[in-house]
Amino acid sequence: MTPFTTATGTGALLALDNVDTDQLIPARFMKRSRSEGYGQQLLHDLRFDAQGAERAGFPLNGRAEPPMVLVAGANFGCGSSREAAVYALVDHGIRVVVAKGFADIFGNNAQRNGLLTLTLAPEAHDRLAARIAAAPGAGITVDLAAQTLRCAGLAPVTFDIDPVAKRRLLLGLDEIAETLQDLAAIERHEAAARAARPWLTPRPVGTGTGTGPGAG
């Protein structure tokens, strides 16, 4: 995973609550492999009309460069667990999403792809949103180590972040490799669990009886 230390760019305001992952990446694009990229499909049906033309006025359209920060409302990333929603944001060039709240699974997915998800104090959020609306070209710098967000024309704001997420993002850690260092502990746990509840291990196929759905 690409480490996140600092990022600089502009912001875009998507002033909507409940931006679901079906909006972020419509299901019909999810057959793509990771290497094909998802950036062009980000928010596809909001960005483009049925003929494939850009919708004028949509915050990601008509820009010289893609934004580095996306600012949105409450419950961002709700719905389907599809990690492609994060791929679409990252591939589009977005490094930071600032929202009034994030859906649970989306936040987990973001953290594992180097996408920083921030929730600011309500007044700070509103000031940032208003500033981006008024001056879309205003420069924004996010410093993860210092936990600060600076937007030209506004006082710097600090943000909270879970220390584990911060460390993972800063170092771009490979979580699987880290966990496998604890393989001995995992094996011990599994052996104890099997001894305590041997029936938990599924029996081989074809040894059972009824498979009917039943109405119970």
Partner: protein, 464 residues
């Protein structure tokens, strides 16, 4: 909470969590996974595994099924769907994972088929790269959806890192009125607390209205818990659970069964267990619910009018504020999905459809091959066909619209699925979520209709 050193009363989820804790570090727990469920969307995770040169650590605890891309009708799917299904077959074969592919009698939607096979058991920790994994909580399992990176992590380690999860208790008193279902209850709860009302929480259901629910109704309710923003929903296991599981192909049997039930019977929250949030509702207030907008929280009883609070959503839906929900013309209906594609859902719809004809196209996609086979054997499928409905093959079908099934732009669809998001059923599609009986009623009249007003056939001979 969840600190191994903490004594005192625990919730059911905390007890399951404690059973699965491998180690605690930096404020997070490494939890072992009992069942890892896969579908075609797992291709990113398999790619990641291949890139790292890793193998699947416990293929015997991993089960796959083709559902998201499985066509409900062969003519509607193309080569792209076949590629996804073949990719799952190749990935699972390479790693020795039991996979229910096309043609397998065990196949179905992952959250329907895996419980049917007896793989979903009380007290287990179950994950799947699908948000509706919350469904399995109906059995007293701690079950939740994860993303592709976490799927790769579970494939490689059979574990998952989890930060402590806040607990929420939703108690439902009284009993559901005639003509209302678990779907209506779920939408009623969402109407009260919103789609962010349980964000990140492990929801535990309690109260007499919950205990009275059938196993399938509990699955519907836990399934929709994700639409409240929750990580999981759980119903404490009881005799309803045990009776449903007895004799399932991969459930414990013989002496194992007795030992398992003895263990499961202890799976209860302790008196005095603490919840960060608690909500109490009266089931008597539940009415047949219908969504009118583009979020599950845009929902009201069928007897209500559309409010003026969400102009963007109403614009997308093509509805004026103040319009009565009942009477809205629909162009098609859909019965199926991991929310409402089970046996009792189909029976509830067939009770209205028997001996009548639909006014608009109705697609029925049973939740699994087992349900489809039972419907053929009992004549239930024939009732749908005689009513003019299309009886499709099992799969995610029109709920997820990545398998060839699609609602046309601007069309209004009465649907038993779980999400009325913009474009969920196809670009420009307008989705109204409701129960199976309500979809049957809408299909019969061509309008959103209060199913309580229509006669129902007695299908008790078929349904038993």
């Amino acid at each position: 909470m969840h600190d191994a050193a903490t004594a005192g009363p625990r919730t059911l989820v905390e007890k399951i969590w404690d059973r699965h804790r491998v180690l605690h570090r930096d404020g997070a727990d490494l939890l072992s996974v009992d069942r890892h469920l896969l579908h075609e969307g797992s291709h990113h995770a398999f790619d990641r595994l291949a890139a790292a040169g890793l193998r699947v650590r416990h293929p015997g605890l991993t089960f796959a099924v083709a559902d998201h891309y499985a066509p409900s009708h062969p003519d509607r799917a193309g080569p792209a769907q076949a590629v996804m299904i073949d990719r799952l077959a190749a990935n699972t074969a390479r790693h020795g994972i039991d996979s229910f592919g096309l043609g397998d009698a065990r196949r179905g939607i992952v959250h329907v088929a895996m419980p049917e096979q007896g793989l979903t058991l009380p007290g287990t920790l179950i994950v799947c790269g699908d948000s509706h994994t919350a469904t399995h909580g109906a059995f007293g399992a701690f079950a939740f959806g994860i993303g592709a990176s976490e799927v790769a992590h579970v494939l490689a380690t059979q574990t998952l890192w989890q930060r402590p999860v806040p607990m929420m208790r939703i108690a439902v008193l009284g009993s559901l009125p005639r003509g209302t279902t678990a779907k209506d209850l779920a939408l009623h709860i969402i109407s009260r607390i919103g789609t962010g009302g349980a964000t990140g929480h492990a929801v535990e259901y309690a109260g007499p209205a919950i205990a009275a629910l059938s196993m399938e109704a509990r699955m519907t309710l836990c399934n929709m818990t994700i639409e409240m923003g929750a990580r999981s929903g759980i119903v404490p296991p009881d005799a309803v659970t045990f009776n449903w599981l007895a004799g399932r192909a991969m459930a414990p049997s013989g002496a194992d069964w007795a030992a398992a039930v003895a263990d499961w019977a202890t799976l209860r929250s302790d008196p005095g267990a603490r919840y960060g949030r608690a909500v109490t509702l009266d089931a008597a207030e539940v009415a047949p619910m219908v969504t009118w907008g583009t979020s599950p929280e845009h929902v009201a009883p069928v007897t209500a009018a559309v409010p003026a609070t969400e102009p963007d959503a109403l614009d997308y839906m093509g509805i004026a504020a103040g319009t009565p929900i009942e009477g809205l013309a629909v162009q098609r209906g859909f019965i199926g999905s991991c929310t409402n594609g089970r046996w009792s859902d189909l029976v509830a719809a067939a009770e209205l459809l028997k001996g009548r004809r639909v006014a608009v196209p109705l697609l029925v996609s049973p939740g699994s091959e087992a349900i489809a086979a039972q419907a053929e054997a009992t004549g239930l499928a024939g009732i749908f066909r005689a009513a003019g409905a299309e009886w499709g093959a099992p799969g995610c079908s029109l709920c997820v619209s990545m398998n060839g099934d699609r609602v046309a732009e601007g069309e209004r669809c009465a649907s038993t699925s779980n999400r009325n998001f913009r474009g969920r059923q196809g670009p420009g599609a307008r989705t109204h979520l409701m129960s199976p009986a309500m979809v049957a009623a809408a299909a019969l009249t061509g309008r959103i209709t209060d199913a309580r007003q229509l006669p129902r056939a007695d299908l008790s001979e078929i349904a038993k």
